[in-house]
């Protein structure tokens, strides 16, 4: 169950309106790696995990914090849209260039009346497909770590796309929290291993004797880039400690597939003579 306080987790106010930057900031609100994604991803992982205790408690804590970040960015976008003029001609007194003005998102004014919404920097709506909650915490914590990496990367890029001190202040906060959250997920991965709840490869519980040994530690070279086999992914010990990497050129060990002709009632193009007979039968059957 959730409760809400009106004050923000962290406060920052922009110096002035900037609808072009408001458009860009949508990426870390409603883009694939934005705050909507991490908030919902951590909450669904917490709700769905069948493991009570510290992992679930931690997921609910961070998912709830991320909701507070959704709120902060929404508020910042709203302020950047303050007094965003409906027409370029109104734009003379503003602190963005006319060229930048042209780069704003028309839905910010036409649809939302000067407000944020769950969409990316091109106005493509946020999708529930952006989140993953697989039930396997080892797989999901690795995803969570990368989500914070992609998120911090995007916010660090945005840091260089504005000169507004207030906006930079909020971006610093987000960069800091993304740093912390990277650390957090990497620590959680270690803890899962130490608790015996998962290891490499994921899922660890699948019996390795079902695998094919000749393919299990072999880097397969399918391009002509000769340096591909120079990395440690092609020789030396594999991270799961079960043997050494090797490499091999890709080879077609299978046969050329020759599927049989389809059911004539599906009207696919089939084998020359044989299908003709089947089609006649189909025609007869329909008479």
């Amino acid at each position: 169950m959730f409760t809400h306080q009106k004050a923000l987790q962290f406060h920052a106010t922009p110096d002035g309106p900037d609808p072009a930057f408001a458009r860009r900031l949508q990426e870390v609100l409603g883009g694939k790696w934005g705050e909507m994604t991490v908030a919902m991803q951590y909450l669904y992982q917490g709700w769905n995990t069948r493991l009570p205790g510290k992992y679930r408690d931690m997921l609910m804590a961070i998912g709830t914090e991320e909701l507070s970040h959704v709120e902060m960015i929404t508020n910042m976008i709203d302020r950047l849209l303050d007094k965003a003029p409906p027409m370029a001609a109104d734009d003379s007194a503003r602190n963005t260039t006319t060229a930048e003005y042209a780069h704003h998102n028309p839905q910010h004014t036409i649809v939302n009346g000067g407000g944020a919404y769950p969409a990316d920097s091109n106005g493509v709506p946020w999708s529930g497909a952006f989140i993953t909650a697989s039930g396997n915490l080892m797989a999901d914590f690795h995803l969570n770590a990368t989500a914070e990496m992609q998120g911090r990367l995007q916010v660090a890029r945005l840091f260089h796309m504005t000169d507004d001190p207030g906006v930079k202040q909020m971006i610093r906060f987000l960069i800091t929290r993304d740093h912390m959250h990277q650390m957090q997920w990497l620590a959680a991965i270690q803890e899962l291993e130490e608790d015996g709840l998962g290891g490499l490869p994921v899922p660890e519980a699948f019996p390795l004797e079902e695998e094919f040994d000749e393919f299990s530690r072999t880097f397969i070279q399918a391009s002509d880039g000769e340096q591909a086999t120079e990395g440690r992914w092609a020789h030396g010990a594999a991270p799961d400690g079960r043997g050494d990497f090797r490499s091999a050129v890709i080879a077609a060990t299978g046969e050329t597939p020759e599927p049989p002709p389809g059911d004539p009632r599906l009207y696919g193009t089939g084998v020359l003579e044989e299908t003709k007979g089947l089609v006649e039968k189909a025609k007869d059957a329909l008479k």
Copy 2:
């Protein structure tokens, strides 16, 4: 530039048709974490990286191998759809139960005439939004590792959803390669660090002095699950070696946001008295 050979990388033929399993197998072909995703993700990362040498060469090699897996799964789905009857009434001689038959994907017959397509197990089309190529290899290699974890997890689950020996044979191959690829990406992450091309947090090059120290290693507790602070993400050394984790209860340090009234030409609901005046002016201006 690509070339193609008709023989498959690995050969497996199902014992008999099974349209219900064909539907499920679509998940690892055209789902978010399926082979279409990893093939395209590794290729776009290889094309876009501005770093020539072993990393790019490796990305092109594995991306191309994954294309060959797309081909293998497509061929397997086609075979599972062989002689898939248009109607349940035709189903008497087949090796799946009638109930299972009802679970097939109608587009397999109506749209594709007994063939696979880039969609997930519910028939939702594959989306270009599923792939990420950020230009930062450290962030992307972590994503690649998790993609292989999610992929191996799904294929391991599918292993228990069929009794067909030929299908299980192909699934074993995919599980093995996903195992190898997890190892590969984890080794590549180590190599990036050793080559000085990236570290924690990602991106490493963003200056840490821009961050807020009080938020940088603090686990923020926003739920009432007391065990959340028992994990190593809330105390002890953080993985980046820059200090110790701490924890704190979430606190609203910001003010309650009070955005100013909007432009009356946007017809938002504004402050009672003030907006009325603005609206009148807007009406006058329109006369």
Copy 3:
């Protein structure tokens, strides 16, 4: 800023697993009119409104409550998926028919490992496009009222699709809250009017003298259904109190559009003679 408690707002536990009903219940979690939609819609409306006070406070209160409903339904779906067998053959001891089993969502097991996700009853992901926060509260409160109507309608239908007493218990709670919320939004519409913050038509502030009188209260008959003009929408006083409805048969008062030929560099099919000349010029210009 949000905080979370682990206990649920309302408790209900199903009698037993039912993956087919779990699939259906996804509709009111991640469908167009599900709990994800109302939670996010009310929160974004609250964040974006430029009117401080009771309306914003109310929006934040109900949006936060709806988040708690997202949590409840997620938990219920998880329980309905408990022990959901990977294969139909495992199904003998369960309390749903085999036919019903076939109707489950394959992503519930393959992708989520027995958990809920933000998608509808066919597995189509939730979309940010489902929510509207226009900045005009009168328009949005009418939408909110209809969202609760559609939501209550769907939950009332689901009530008849299960015999499980625990599931029915949760559905009763949701139906009750949807009832309350319909009342709430209708009362809020009255309050907006009484506060002078909006009226009919929406937006009220647009000057009526800009409208065309001949079209402003006329029901236009474009079909041959003679009873269409028998309703009160075609005669008597209009709800805005500005005059009486009338009706008229649809008429083409405009001209037949004749757009000029396009730029030859766009290679559209143009007017016969004229375009040919333009194309030649384009060819010459390219030489």
Copy 4:
């Protein structure tokens, strides 16, 4: 069955080309609340209603009229794209600023050759998910009223984004019809009530004794905004005439959910000791 006349329902021609406004006008053609949506929504409601007579006849009349509006806006966008130059360098003689030119939709030229298409102002395609035809006319007429409100709001905003007299003429027509249609749906809601075909809450036919009395008229406060309970949604008579509103602070009346460990064949992370045993069994079974 439909028939078509080439002349437009209402005629308006722009003064000159304006590709930037053409982009914006797409919102009310192919956006969520655009003419494609209302046309298709009313037609599907008319086709699907199981109630012959004035309501169905009215739905078919207005849905068909809205198709004529789709045609009008399409024609207007085409004209605004007349002579839209492929490059900014061609732009010197045109009546929009260079900055505005940059804001056009590239698909208007590259894909459509100077024509409109069913997409919103950011080029995101229209979706069938935008329409609702629930079978319950009371719920749907409320949605229809709000669709006209959102539509009129957007067109009123567009009115201030252009100086072109011809474009403003068409916008006036659309604003007028949206006014009329708001009146129409509100009158239809009254008529449904008077005809005894529906009332509050929707659906009215669900037995109220199935609801939980303690939750049925209670505004639940889940935020710290104190004014939230000052509105009439928190005290006084509820609109359904069945009692008075009350208010209460949100409370967790449920238990903390503790789902049992999942099936080991799904490889979720489970309870420490117990799951390990299950996994061993799964491994044994696979041998």
Copy 5:
């Protein structure tokens, strides 16, 4: 401008309900190649063409007829859903098997209350991206011909998936019209050529001397399937009458791309030594 008559263009009533077939029939209503697509595609092509006369008139005629087919299929789906029971247990007296019942679309009851909607046979919504109106009639008429081919193919497959005489009657009508429409578009292609409005290749007006002769009639062999060069696409006269086909094995005539390191403010992984210096400079600049 459109008008509507309540009677259907063609009448057919099913023998009895069949929700599983109703689900399948959605494919030709709201699928990629369904009636929604052809109706909207022909209308947008007609509205957007800059060529007045017989082509535009024809497009408006057929687009309007296809709207009447949308109506017919919607009505048929509604009838197939008549008395569709909310639960399988209600199903005993119906003429479909229990297994087939399980295959129905849950949104047909939960969302639509027993009605059709613009979605495909898996419930994925119709998309505006399904239609193309390029402004070039030669390109679009070829697409229209294939749309009728795909449509007739799907309806012919559906013909074999039902035994209901009334449903088969409607399917016969649709198959017949799709036959006619294939003829129509092929005749229109011939007429465009005879009128000098387009030819091969499309667009014909692009100057051929801008093309590279060595690639212009060469079939490029990029696979090891030896029979690929046996077809007439690899030798003999090309259909545009400008020369003979040849064939060649694919060859990499370009260089290996070596993009320069990116801007350090984007934090991509760059060239080892050089980027490090740039990153230091970026850090300094930020101080």
Copy 6:
């Protein structure tokens, strides 16, 4: 099975960066008719066809070539984004106008760090729904021909939107290959006919005697455009050689549909008196 070479199929390097054109070029990479679509469409058609021999071999050859075009365009977009400055203020030394700069895609920098991705010119992701592999080669080859027409049309338009000689060089290559591929598919259609594998209408194997003769060659006039019947689609021999076209005005030969009232448990609005009784019964049943 696929293999890859690092050198490109064709080499072209832009004169300088141009992020606005990079945005536009995305259309022919990740748009509906871009290279991603044709590559995947031909490969899936090749994989799924049940006809071994020259047709399958040819499909695999051309699909593989198109993958090489995806690579080329990706590389070109990357180069056009070289040194794309994060802010307009950095833009002074670049060869595009400031207005054009404003027209770039923000995801190119924020998300991809200066790289291409599978999305269209508005940033809408590529969709698996863009491809069709129906199993019927005659239908699909017609689609393939039109895909090359739409593709060549778009690239020809792009040719006029840039002055960069290197970019124009690559566009010339693509235009040339699209020309060749149009010829190839038209030749393949002829070959299918000559091999007796398909003819008109598609599918040819459906028995014509199942069609309704009165509708089979009749152009139906549903608009008032009198010239619609002047084309050869309304008189003279039809292309299938089975008779002459005729024309007729559209007529409603069906009845007005009157669906029965729905199940009261779905709470649809039903017939006035009758439904009331049903609803009472439903209420009683629930007691």
